[in-house]
């Protein structure tokens, strides 16, 4: 424990450029506590438009916790407390006048394990549009569902059975269904927490392609345990360690020429 504390104390500030021009989201001095235990220590980070930012780091370093701050999913955990500022288009999303329901329509989330609703494929994708009232009539709703399924690269496989339950799809298809479900409400940012960890390499490759396509329209933050995946899909990479943001920079830079010793150890596999 003392050793970990020593390492934690040795991390001072973040190496690399945390800020970008015209940030879509901008986090400053974010601390997160689970009850008394601090999980995130003063993290500053920007997320740019049309960018995929990868978040990597050892297990338990707080990647998921940090990601969940960006759409206030942590609000659902009673013991979780967040301080600092998280800006979306210049507005603090934790301000009193901000509504988490509206926020989550703007900042969508895809989870580690595919979690389709036990409803039909159509209803899965239509759900967000329905509750937010995005479609004026059935034809518009159909357009939204088909469009989202197409953009998620799932339409060809399921077009003949939109009434089948979402849970009847394979794992990879389910995950693409979940992605279709979150893009159906036209969010501005998509958060993905290890979206491929339950998938085989082929399904993973499909989703990575999809992420690359989605980047044209959205800002994407992705947590991943696979360094290859981070290298393949992201433009920038952030390395977390014990709740602190150690280093951030161009993905190429980070993987070829890491500045911080901890980053280098992790990337070269010297850190377990």
């Amino acid at each position: 424990m003392d050793e970990a504390q020593a390492v934690l104390d040795s991390i001072e500030g973040t190496v690399g450029e945390i800020a970008v021009d015209n940030p879509k989201m901008s986090m400053r001095d974010v601390d997160v506590f689970y009850a008394e235990k601090q999980a995130i220590f003063g993290v500053d980070l920007d997320v740019a438009n049309n960018e995929v930012i990868a978040m990597i780091g050892p297990s338990g370093c707080g990647k998921s916790t940090f990601l969940r701050c960006l759409n206030r999913m942590n609000d659902t955990i009673p013991i979780c407390r967040v301080s600092g500022s998280v800006m979306l288009d210049g507005d603090d999303i934790y301000a009193a006048d901000q509504d988490p329901v509206l926020l989550r329509a703007r900042v969508g989330m895809v989870f580690q394990k595919p979690n389709p609703f036990p409803k039909s494929i159509f209803d899965n994708v239509a759900y967000g549009a329905r509750i937010h009232g995005l479609a004026a009539n059935r034809a518009e709703l159909d357009d939204i569902v088909v469009g989202s399924l197409k953009r998620a690269g799932l339409y060809e496989e399921v077009k003949s059975r939109l009434d089948a339950p979402g849970t009847s799809l394979s794992g990879g298809q389910q995950q693409r269904l979940c992605i279709a479900r979150s893009i159906a409400v036209s969010p501005e940012v998509i958060l993905m927490d290890e979206p491929c960890s339950a998938l085989d390499p082929i399904a993973t490759a499909r989703i990575e392609e999809l992420i690359d396509e989605l980047r044209e329209n959205y800002a994407i933050a992705i947590v991943t345990h696979s360094m290859q995946q981070a290298a393949r899909v992201s433009q920038r990479t952030a390395y977390f360690h014990l709740g602190k943001l150690v280093e951030v920079g161009d993905t190429n830079e980070i993987f070829t020429n890491p500045q911080h010793e901890l980053t280098e150890n992790y990337i070269t596999g010297r850190f377990g």
Partner: protein, 426 residues
Amino acid sequence: MSDTTEIVKASLARRYRAERRFRFYGVLAITISLSFLAFLLISIVFRSIPAFTQSSIHLDVALDAETLGVSENPDYAELRTANYSGAIKKAMRERFPDVSKRKEKKNLYSLISSGAEFQLRDHVISDPTIIGGNTVIWLQADDELDALVAAVDDVTNIGDVKTRLNEQQRGWIAELQQAGEIKTRFNKTFFTNGDSREPELAGIKAALFGSAWTLLVTFLLSFPVAVCAAIYLEEFAPVNRWTDLIEVNINNLAAVPSIVFGLLGLAVFINFFALPRSAPLVGGIVLSLMTLPTIIISSRAALKAVPPSIREAAQGIGASQVQVVFHHVLPLAMPGILTGTIIGLAQALGETAPLLMIGMVAFIVDIPAGITDPATVLPVQVFLWADSPERAFVAKTSAAIVVLLLFLIVMNAVAVLLRKKFERRW
């Protein structure tokens, strides 16, 4: 071979033995409990059989106005109060002309149920033109006769079967049987009558309706309240000392002896709010107090069992808490909630003690037509009949238990159907 292989091998036999032992205990436990259950069921069903049949006696009744004590052209009121029992007695005397002694006559009349005169009355009222002539009618036999013909084939040779009928009476019965003037058929009366002092006239219908009304009130009160409470506590309430306190109290409430709820019902609903005594309304309220904690606890468990990933999925695309609960969590929890509700209602159906406190132990002849009519319920009826001295009530008691069990089975079947309808996999 490596060491591990050796060690594992040495312990294998012991492990399999342990497994076999455990399987044996399991099968033994199931066999014991099933055989108790089977014994109970079989004995109850066997004892109930006489209650489902009813013997009648064939009589040729002379309906002259004199015997009936009515005028030549009787009106309805006259017909209702006419002396039908006199006519029946006369017909019996004519059937057995040798009987002359007063005591013997009395014994002869007792073969026919005291309800027979109402049978004859209804028959005459439905067609008053038969007055003046003779009518042939099957009249309900007395319960002792009923029990005897159900128990033995030859009533003159009864062995050690107990009966209150003497040898002479049994001779008459044998004579009637030989002439084909006694028949035994399905006892409709049991399902169409309320309670009666006479076993052959006593029926289950009043208690059945009483139970149905009471359960309806219980369900309508406890289901919505309990489900709302469970949803609030599980999904919306902050976790603090107050909600902890409430939770502890709900669990305690489930353990309160039911008679306490009866006392509460008596003090609050009958004495303070002046609701009618013996009514399904009060019974239902009292029983819903009892079923509330059961439904709340099982509903909370069902809500808790919904995987968090479903909630996260809905929250992640911007569903509000109410939408998360009502669109996703509640439908998935519904099968569990229904199971809990049925368990609660089944408990309520079998409950006797609290209903005794609020007067639902009354002698109810009329079928309750609503929730404020005096009523009794099936288990209380079982209790009342089990307490009656007439031997025929033994069969009625078992028959009432059979009806109670059938009621339960129907309830469970409905629950299974509803559960099938709601069940979804994820």
